[in-house]
């Protein structure tokens, strides 16, 4: 996930129908080449199983119900952790963006905590929570907190002061000013925060589940490694990639719906 990602393409590049297909050409080509390389023995299956083997492994796990259960557990952890960390980050972003006092009180502290890589806390978190659910939720929430906090704060602070003055001149109350001017003005930046946070959410979860869990996709991958089931390992990685892509697409759809006023999102 990078900043470049969040800069929408100029209109002319977007061809409505073809656009949806073009993005799948490269992944499909890679899979085709991979399959050929495996079948011909160019890549030994002990290093990388053929895509067909991965699909087969997935089918077996699907039938046993194990796959759905693990995906569900990971999905649940990701969403709950995201909701908790995201709402706290959003709340602090609002408070510190709107109130000088609140900013003075907490911003420096938060900036200091931000410099601790949250994954470095894993040993401590295991000591605190064991390999309980709360350990994973805590880590995800912590990871998600900062991008949302920083971008909400930045969004609110950079709302055009001339628009705020305009709102005041036209007699908006504080509530109206927030609803009609400040929040919509901060929204593009908040979305940047959400998309960064989604990336961090998956990353945190993978690491946490790999190290300390008894269920979930990361756990499934680690188990498979112990039994040398390389096809399941690759399957887990691919599912993580797919879920990440799904979350990103969902946020894009939401962005497109709420930012339809933005020149960059107007389709003609």
């Amino acid at each position: 996930m990078s900043l470049i990602d969040s800069i929408p393409l100029p209109r002319s590049v977007r061809l409505p129908r073809v656009d949806g297909l073009i993005q799948w050409i490269v992944p499909l080509a890679i899979i085709a080449i991979w399959q050929v390389a495996s079948v011909t023995g160019f890549v030994p299956t002990r290093v990388l199983p053929a895509p067909s083997d991965v699909v087969l492994a997935g089918w077996k796990l699907l039938l046993s119900g194990e796959l759905v259960r693990n995906i569900w557990v990971s999905f649940w952890r990701a969403s709950i952790g995201f909701l908790i960390g995201g709402s706290i980050g959003f709340a602090f972003g609002l408070a510190n963006g709107l109130s000088q006092l609140s900013a003075k009180l907490t911003d420096t502290t938060l900036q200091m905590v931000r410099n601790v890589p949250h994954l470095a806390l894993i040993p401590l978190v295991i000591l605190w929570f064991g390999i309980d659910e709360s350990a994973k939720l805590f880590l995800v929430a912590l990871g998600v907190f900062f991008p949302i906090y920083l971008n909400t704060l930045h969004g609110i602070r950079t709302v055009d002061p001339q628009l705020i003055e305009m709102g005041r001149i036209y007699g908006m109350t504080d509530g109206e000013l927030f609803r009609r001017v400040i929040f919509p003005g901060a929204l593009p930046s908040i979305f940047v925060g959400i998309r960064f946070a989604l990336g961090i959410m998956w990353l945190t979860l993978i690491v946490a589940e790999t190290i300390a869990a008894s269920s979930g996709l990361g756990y499934m991958a680690m188990q498979a490694r112990e039994f040398m089931l390389i096809d399941v390992v690759v399957l887990s990685i691919l599912i993580y990639a797919l879920l990440g892509k799904l979350a990103d697409s969902a946020s894009r759809v939401l962005e497109r719906l709420t930012l339809s006023w933005h020149p960059a999102f107007q389709k003609r």
Partner: protein
């Protein structure tokens, strides 16, 4: 009736901005059928920013419904004066009075930038101008009427980002007009427009001013615009009104007529001689 005076005294400053009794509301509705301009009296008005004495005693009376243009070199305090009249900044000394109680909706300002909400459609942007009446049932209808007045009825459902600079400024004008203000202050509203758009906007300004009869105060750096539109041109120098020139040409005015050109020349020479002295 209480007389609203903006002065350096904090209580009266507040009285003119914030205390709107239900009684005052009734008064407002009674006369809103024939909204007319308010007279404006400014006495000994001073304003400094730190050591920078910007306004050093402005004395001025503007009769109700007059169209006044204010010119002066850059940084002489035109915007500052306008912001004080509109109640956006605090007065250091002196007073501004409107001769009667005013509502916030009675005074509107238009700036060089349209300041439209990019995330609100054109009609919703105009509705913002209704102030406290935004939530009332006829808000849509009133906003649409204002849009028709500025000739943009067909753009009501557009986003501001698709409008041209001149169209945006017309939406801003519609927003300023929708509450039927009694004083309309313009701070170089046409400064960013190209020559042709400027002229058509000037005509529009003149037309709505004649239709509605508000008191108009136009800050501009274009002297020909000032003489084309105003009844009276004020030249500010060194924090005071240095010249007060009446423009008696009848309306509609012929742009570039000998009479206006002569006035424009004499005002320009005032401005330039002040420049030479400094």
């Amino acid at each position: 009736m209480q007389t609203a005076v903006r002065s350096s005294l904090p209580e009266t400053e507040l009285a003119s901005r914030a205390n709107f009794t239900p009684h005052a509301r009734v008064v407002r509705e009674e006369r809103s059928a024939s909204a007319v301009g308010l007279p404006l009296s400014i006495r000994g008005l001073r304003k400094s920013f730190g050591d920078n004495e910007v306004l050093r005693g402005i004395d001025l009376h503007i009769p109700a419904g007059q169209f006044v243009a204010i010119v002066g070199k850059s940084g002489c305090g035109k915007s500052t004066l306008l912001r004080l009249i509109a109640g956006l900044d605090k007065i250091d000394a002196g007073s501004i009075s409107f001769g009667q109680e005013i509502q916030p909706e009675d005074i509107r300002v238009m700036f060089q930038e349209p300041r439209l909400l990019p995330w609100a459609r054109v009609l919703a942007n105009v509705e913002v101008g209704l102030g406290r009446d935004r939530a009332s049932g006829d808000a849509h209808a009133r906003a649409e009427k204002a849009l028709i007045e500025v000739g943009l009825a067909d753009k009501r459902d557009q986003w501001p980002s698709v409008l041209s600079g001149g169209q945006k400024q017309r939406v801003a004008l519609g927003r300023a007009l929708v509450s039927r203000p009694r004083v309309l202050a313009f701070d170089e509203p046409l400064g960013a427009l190209d020559a042709l758009t400027r002229i058509s906007m000037q005509r529009l300004l003149e037309r709505v001013w004649r239709d509605q009869g508000f008191t108009a105060i136009l800050v501009t750096h274009d002297v020909s615009e000032a003489v084309a539109l105003a009844d009276r041109v004020l030249v500010i120098e060194e924090g005071r009104i240095a010249h007060d020139v009446s423009v008696n040409a009848g309306r509609p005015r012929q742009r570039g007529s000998v009479e206006l050109a002569g006035l424009e020349g004499s005002i320009l020479s005032h401005l330039l001689s002040a420049d030479d002295r400094t």
